[in-house]
């Protein structure tokens, strides 16, 4: 593949790859763009409602519990653990992609395995958090947490929280399923037959996007 296009030659006149990426990877980028706007719409709706409210619950109060330790009142400790798990699994995914470049099947399997474990651990944490909040009385249409200033809160907080973290969790679940499929395909030697591991890159892009969305969900719900 040629590196540079001569000055008087149009890049788009054919015979060249204007993006220099494989078709499927480009389409993955476009899909992720559209998905970003879906998540953006959710989070902006949340922001609009929050800006239009006189009061809002305090995340430090709502998200202070940690499993086993229970009511240790460590604000945000558990969600930091979830964030750490997700960032870590993003790293193992990059390492899987890197091993794919080297066509090292064993390494790809190893790092993909860790990524799947990380995704499953994140989902487990989220399941615990949801269960805990449910037992505290929070659910769609129910909000036991008063506003920060002590006034009565509406159910907007819980509705948005469960919808958006649920939508994100669903993405994580899809990502784990995709990674499991990639794991099986690698294990069966499909990519060795093809001669390249570009499929791992596409799965990797999706996985990093899930991590990216979490960064914003984390800021919007737990920090603000």
């Amino acid at each position: 593949m040629s590196q540079a296009v001569p000055v008087n030659q149009n890049m788009w006149s054919g015979g060249k790859s204007p993006f220099k990426v494989e078709y499927g990877k480009l389409m993955m980028w476009y899909f992720l763009m559209s998905d970003a706007f879906t998540f953006g719409a959710f989070l902006i709706a949340y922001g609009t409602i929050r800006f239009s409210s006189n009061g809002w619950p305090d995340p430090n109060h709502v998200f202070r519990s940690f499993p086993v330790i229970g009511e240790m009142h460590i604000p945000l400790a558990f969600v930091s653990l979830m964030t750490f798990i997700l960032i870590m699994s993003s790293v193992t995914m990059v390492l899987a992609v890197g091993a794919g470049h080297e066509k090292n099947r064993k390494e790809v399997l190893k790092w993909l395995g860790w990524t799947i474990l990380g995704g499953a651990a994140f989902l487990g944490c989220q399941a615990w958090e949801w269960t805990h909040l449910y037992h505290e009385g929070a659910w769609w249409g129910r909000n036991p947490f008063p506003n920060l200033d002590g006034s009565m809160s509406s159910t907007n907080f819980t509705n948005f929280f469960f919808t958006i973290t649920g939508f994100h969790g669903f993405h994580v679940l899809s990502g784990v399923v995709i990674n499991i499929i990639m794991f099986i395909m690698t294990w069966k030697g499909v990519f060795d037959q093809r001669g390249h591991y570009l499929m791992i890159e596409k799965a990797g892009l999706y996985w990093h996007f899930v991590d990216l969305v979490w960064v914003f969900v984390f800021t919007c719900f737990y920090l603000f």
Binding site: H101, H132, Y197, H208, F216, F224
Partner: protein, 153 residues
């Protein structure tokens, strides 16, 4: 190896990127993300533990800091983990220019929400008064949970 021709381009492509893949950069990105997140948490917990004479102003400044740090994290994930920084300019532009729409979305919608709040507080005094009423602090959580020993919590 019958399909050598079909995969030649893909081979070539995979080979091209091999040079830009750098494990050290990955771990550096990981550390940056980790430190930023820990710093954000320290700020959030610090704000929670301390008392300020003007808590609202502090909270606004803090939120501004969170926005900047979040965007920094997003940049590192997209640029390094998703490898966009190492793609060619055409691809970078086709992703980042549409993403600029978010600037307008966020500004317009948050502005709208804020304006709605102010208008409603001005013209619906009952809403303003009732949103200031304190509720008695009840902790519905503790009791049902302790009544169910062995349950996950």
């Amino acid at each position: 190896m019958e399909n050598v021709h079909a995969t030649a381009a893909a081979h070539d492509h995979a080979h091209d990127e091999q040079h830009t893949f750098d494990k050290k950069a990955i771990w550096r990105t990981f550390r940056v993300l980790l430190y930023i997140t820990l710093f954000e948490l320290a700020l959030a917990i610090g704000y929670y533990e301390m008392t300020f004479s003007n808590p609202e102003l502090v909270k606004h400044i803090l939120n501004g800091v969170f926005v900047i740090l979040t965007l920094a994290k997003a940049f590192f994930i997209i640029a390094e983990f998703m490898h966009l920084r190492h793609e060619i300019r055409n691809l970078i532009m086709t992703i980042s220019i549409p993403a600029l729409l978010f600037l307008w979305f966020i500004t317009a919608f948050l502005w709208d929400g804020n304006s709605y709040k102010n208008l409603r507080n001005d013209y619906d005094r009952h809403h303003l008064e009732s949103s200031k009423e304190k509720v008695e602090v009840k902790e519905p959580a503790e009791k049902p949970e302790t009544q169910e020993p062995g349950k996950i919590h």
